[in-house]
Every structure is written in C-alpha cells, then in structure tokens.
Amino acid sequence: MQILTTLLLVLVFGPPAAAETIYVSNEQDNTVAVVDGATMTLQAAIDVGRRPRGMALSVDKKTLFVAEGDDNRIDVVDLAKRQVVGQLPSGADPEFFVVHPDGKRLFVANENDNQVSVVDIAGAKIIGTVDVGVEPEGMAISADGRTVACTSETTSMVHLIDATALELIDNLLVDTRPRAAAFSVDGKQLWVSSEIRGTVTIFDTATRAQTGKIEFEVPGIRREGVQAVGIEMSRDGATAYVALGPANRVAEVDTKTFTVRRLYLVGQRPWHVALSGDQKQLISANGNSGDISFIDLENREVVKSLPVGRGPWGVVIGP
C-alpha cells in the first residue's frame, strides 16, 4: 500500500526536482568536490586521502566510499557531515571498486597486485581475494549481485568472477588496455571500453560471446586520440554514454543498434560520466581542464562547465 501511495505521488507530482548533489574526485587535489545539482555551483571540497579516483555510494546513499590509490585504502565519507569518518582496507593501489547490492561488501581492483579484494564494510577487513590479469582496473557488478566483472589493462581481458565463491568464471579477450566495464540494465550484456583501441566491446552475459563492437569516429581526430573510458547506462536501458578521453567528447550510444547517436564536446579528457536521477542531465569529469561539464540531454547541449579542482576523475550523483 505504501509503495502504491509513493507511486501515485510520483505519478501526480513527477519525480522530485533535482535536489541532487554531485561528487567529483579530484585526483591531483586529494579532494572530493561537492556540487549542488540544481544550481550547478561548487559547495565544498572534502579533504580525502591521496590520489582519490574510484567512488561509490553506500546502498542507503548516506555514505560515499572513495578509493585512495596512493594511500592503499578506501575512505568512508559521511555525506551529511561532509567529512571522512572512517577508513577501509582495500589492498594495494585501489583504483576502481563496486558496492555489492547486499550493501555489505566492496569489490576492489588492486592495480598493482593483479587481484580483486573483497572488503567487508562493517568489519573493515579484507575477507577474500581473487587473482586476475595484470593491472586490474574497471569493475562492475550484475544487478543480482552474482557476477563481478573486472578488466585488466595489460592482459586485455575482462574477468568474470563468481561473487559468492570468489572464483573466476571466465576470462574474455577484449581490445587493448580495457578500462571500464558496465552491465546493461537488464543484465544481459556486458560492455567493456578499450582505451588504446578506442572501442567498446559488448558480450552476451549468458553465452559470453561477443555480440557487438562500437568504434568511435571523431571528425578531425586521429584514431590514437579517440580513447574509450567511462561508461554510464541510462535507467531505461536504451542509451549508453561513453567518455572518449583525449578526444574531449562524450558519445551517446543506442544500445539496441550499437550506433553512436551523437557526440557532445565537453572539457579536456573526460574520464567518467554520471546521469542525474531524473536522467535529464549527464555530468562528465574532465581530467585535464579541471572542470565538469553539464549536458542537458533533452536539449542535447552542453549547458555549463564548472571548475571543481585539479584532475577530476570519478563522478557520482547522490541525494
């Protein structure tokens, strides 16, 4: 009944206005920038450990976890207090990680140790590791929580890990220097970006066969300059957004046809992108220009660039 009421309220009044907050990890400033989504203004900078990159919200969205590559740990940020309130072990050189849907565990790529560490959040300890290829980087977890995907940059593979047994299920060859991995909303596909080839490879998660490959062409830029990095899926499953690094673009991709619908010119070297809760706005974190770009997806235009610090890398949107 309560669910029905909520649903009705949403139907009548529409989703709540964008009272959202954007969090950006600045890897050269050792801060997380706090940006008000409605006014598109910088509110604060939270001091965190050294070289913050990967970030994720807790399941209750009250906590932000931040991977500190040079401090070999994950900082726990209380979003109400806007400060670091604790630390979790991560294994060496954490870059990217995911929160398991059960809310209890983190799966962390340890770039220097060729393994994935599993961290128990409540107990603040590492409860398992899985050996993967050389330089693990991108991480994704299926919505059912059963499968973790991890890319390894030098091995050029995506490793599928059984999240319970902590065993490798499969290792799939992808294009050179894979960065991000993302499951489709229905869980039937796995998308993997390649930095050096500038491609995204798509696998069927059931058969684990490659079902598509997306190449990105940016007018006036040679293939070495087009590199695929962060991937964000729209909630309706129809669209994927891919950050194209030194090409200074974000590509909007049709997930049915695997074709590029359009390119958005953003700041320099976008690493990662995130969608607002209402799916109307896309934010890119631009590493070389020290800003984030706000893309209005309804009007299909970049509406604002906001300086947030040095070396913006990860971007997460929370309440």
């Binding site: 050389v134 091995t155 050096i196 684990r208 293939r223």
Partner: protein, 406 residues
C-alpha cells in the same frame, strides 16, 4: 591451432563469436588437458664497458636491457596463461669483440623467430646479415643511430628504441614551445656526440630554432669526484661557456663525460638541455603518468633497480610479439611478423596512446618523454605541431624524407 590463420580486423561477427567462444573454452580447459603452445623469444646482448660513475648516486648497471626483456615475458605470460600461450626468453650475451653470427645461428637452430637485439649498430648489422636471420625479426632495442633507419635499414629489423632524430625533434618541439629558440650547442668529441649534434641541428632547422653558438667541448673530461673537484669545475665551466647570449644550452655528450657538470655553472644563467639536464628520452624512472606507475613498480620488484631506456625498449620488443600473439590467437611466426608491420597493430606502452611501427623504416612511433632529474617535465609531440597522418610522425624521419629501401 584451428583459428591461427584468422586475420584480425577482418573478422566478421560470427567468426569473432566463434573465436571468442573458443578462447573462453581454452581458458577453462587449459589447466585440465590442453597443451599450451610456447613462444621462445631470443635476447642477444653484449658485455659493455661500464661507464665511470659520475656521481655517488649513480649505480653501475650490468643487466640493462635484459631485465626489460624479462619483464616483457612476464607481461606476455599474463595474457598468455588465459589463451594457452606460454612465453620464454632465451638469453645470450656476447663477450667483448665476439661476432654475433654464431649466436644468431643457434637461435635459428632452436626455431627462434623473434630476437631482442640489444646491440650496437655494427653488431646489429652483422646479426641481421647472419645466416638464419633472414627468417627472423630482430628488434633494435639499443642503438639510436639514424643511419639504421636510413641507408642502413634492414627488412628484418624493427626499432623499438627511438632514433636520435626522434629525441632531438622531441626536445626541439618543447624548447620552441617554450619560446627558447636561440640555442648554444656544445658537442663532445666522440662520433656519437657528433651524430647527436647533427640531429639537434636538423631539429632546430625543422622547428624554427636557431643555433646561434655552435662549439665543440675541447676540455679533457674532468673527474669532479676528486677532493675539492668542484673548485676546478667552478672555474673551468664558466670559461668553456663564455659566449654570446642564447636561451638554452643544448649539450651533446652521450658518453656522459662533461654534460652533467654544466648545470649551475654556466657563465650565463641558462637552462641546460639535451643529453644532460632536461633530457629527451624513450623512458625515464621519473615517469608515472599514463599508468606507468604500475610498470615502474613491476620492474623495480623484478630487477631491484629503476627501469632504464634500454630496458623499456627491450620490454616494448617482447610485448610487441605478445600483443600480436594475443590479437591473432596464434604463435605462428609468419603471421606475427606480418601483423607487427600492419596498420592494425597497436601496442599499449604506458605513454597515453597506442604505439605502432612505421612501414617505411621499421621504427616504432612513440611519444618521447622530456624529463628532469626528479620529475617528468613534458612529453612530445607538443600541442600545435601538426601532421597529416599522426602527430607522432612529427618526431624522427618521416616517410617523405626516408632514404630507407628494404
């Protein structure tokens, strides 16, 4: 292997699916019964006279190059273990004065098709002409000599070490970008120094710098480590650099005999660049960008020292073979040799973009680091230096000026 003849990049979707399903099968099956195939890569080095350590922090290194090749094998094995491909290095170090023909012959007899040739130019040319070498690919990981990419180029040689022309062009672009266009070129007495100076002169002309003062270094190499050695240098260097005005002192001293004494002692307060000071190099321990931290850490763990340019060039050679084997799903040497030289080949070399071989002279295209003694200063090509094919081809000998005929 059933799919060894597949040309990647020309795959249609169904074959790709087939290939990938096969790969998946292999990865699961390998520990149980499938017999992995092995690629043996040769390493051919030579014993060298150790240079005199210039300062107390300098460490004598006897295994530079070799350790890079060893790390390349470990990295190749990273992907190989999932694909049923094993990699092994067969090492051979020539004694001083020993001709390379016998070693090449032994490699050929062992069925080796790819050799890291960590050799000086004369030895490299002998090795490339030795019986058996005609069926091999030799990777020049040591000698920057431009003639090896020009009139002395060889069909069976690829170059992973940057040429002098590439290093000079990279430095020139940075100096011109800085607006330091008037150079004082100071050249050592050895043939290598003269060759480097020639590359600097060529680079200056290409990118709009002027060598306003061009002088040979005529002093005897001093030993600054003598007690109160600095006193001599403090009078000697200002005298040697007492010239008209210039923006930057560009030094050509490959033997490292005097260049390091210049910085902080020149008559005019000017930056020193070239073979010492601000250096252009294929690799430097100071680099940690583009994911290089992980490569540097892996190397240090393996070798117990920092990675040198010759280590990096040897690593590139071994990784090139591994990358080709990965993309082809095959260890077939003919297919690998062909793929290395194709447009599709791209190696991830921790320099921010894919690396490939120039078809006209076999030189690996690569960004060149501009490094200070403790930190990375820049990386060339610099913004604004354009090229009709790729900005990487603004460094070194371009297609239109190539004298190489295979």
């Amino acid at each position: 292997m059933a799919i060894s003849n597949i040309q990647l990049g020309l795959l249609d979707l169904s074959r790709t699916r087939l290939a990938l399903a096969f790969v998946g099968l292999l990865a699961i099956a390998v520990p149980a019964h499938a017999e992995p195939q092995t690629m043996v890569i040769g390493y051919l080095g030579e014993q060298r006279k150790l240079p005199l350590p210039l300062g107390p922090l300098d460490e004598a290194v006897t295994d530079d190059g070799l350790q890079g090749a060893r790390l390349g094998i470990a990295d190749d094995a990273g992907t190989g273990r999932f694909l049923g491909q094993q990699f092994r290095l067969q090492e051979r170090v020539l004694k001083p004065g020993e001709a390379p023909a016998e070693a090449v012959n032994a490699f050929a007899a062992a069925g080796i098709s790819f050799v890291v040739a960590d050799l000086d130019a004369a030895q490299l040319l002998q090795a490339s002409a030795a019986p058996g070498a005609e069926r091999m690919t030799l990777f020049n990981s040591r000698d920057p000599d431009d003639s090896l990419r020009q009139e002395n180029c060889r069909r069976n040689v690829l170059h992973t070490v940057p040429s002098r022309a590439m290093l000079a062009d990279a430095l020139a672009q940075y100096l011109v970008w800085k607006g330091w266009q008037h150079w004082f070129l100071l050249t050592g007495p050895h043939p290598d120094d003269l060759a480097m100076a020639a590359a600097f002169r060529r680079a200056a002309a290409r990118f709009g710098a002027q060598i306003t003062i061009d002088k040979p270094w005529t002093f005897r190499p001093a030993n600054g480590r003598a007690d109160t050695g600095h006193v001599t240098l403090q009078t000697e260097i200002p005298a040697a650099t007492q010239v008209g005005d210039y923006d930057v002192l560009v030094v050509a001293d490959e033997a490292d005999e005097f260049g390091a004494y210049l910085d902080g002692r020149t008559a005019l307060p000017r930056t020193v660049a070239g073979t010492q000071g601000l250096v252009a190099t294929g690799w430097s321990a100071v680099d940690e960008e583009w994911g290089a931290t992980q490569l540097q850490d892996r190397f240090h763990k393996l070798a117990g020292r920092w990675m040198l340019p010759s280590d990096y060039a040897a690593w590139l050679a071994v990784r090139s073979v591994g990358e080709a084997a990965t993309r082809l799903h095959s260890l077939d040497p003919t297919a690998i040799a062909k793929y290395l030289r194709s447009d599709d080949f791209l190696l991830a070399g921790f320099k921010g973009q894919g690396l490939s071989f120039r078809p006209w002279d076999g030189q690996m295209r690569q960004p060149i680091l501009i490094a200070g003694p403790r930190l990375l200063v820049s990386s060339s090509p610099q913004p604004g230096f354009l090229h009709q094919r790729t900005p990487l081809d603004t460094l070194g000998i371009d297609l239109e000026e190539s004298a190489c005929k295979f």
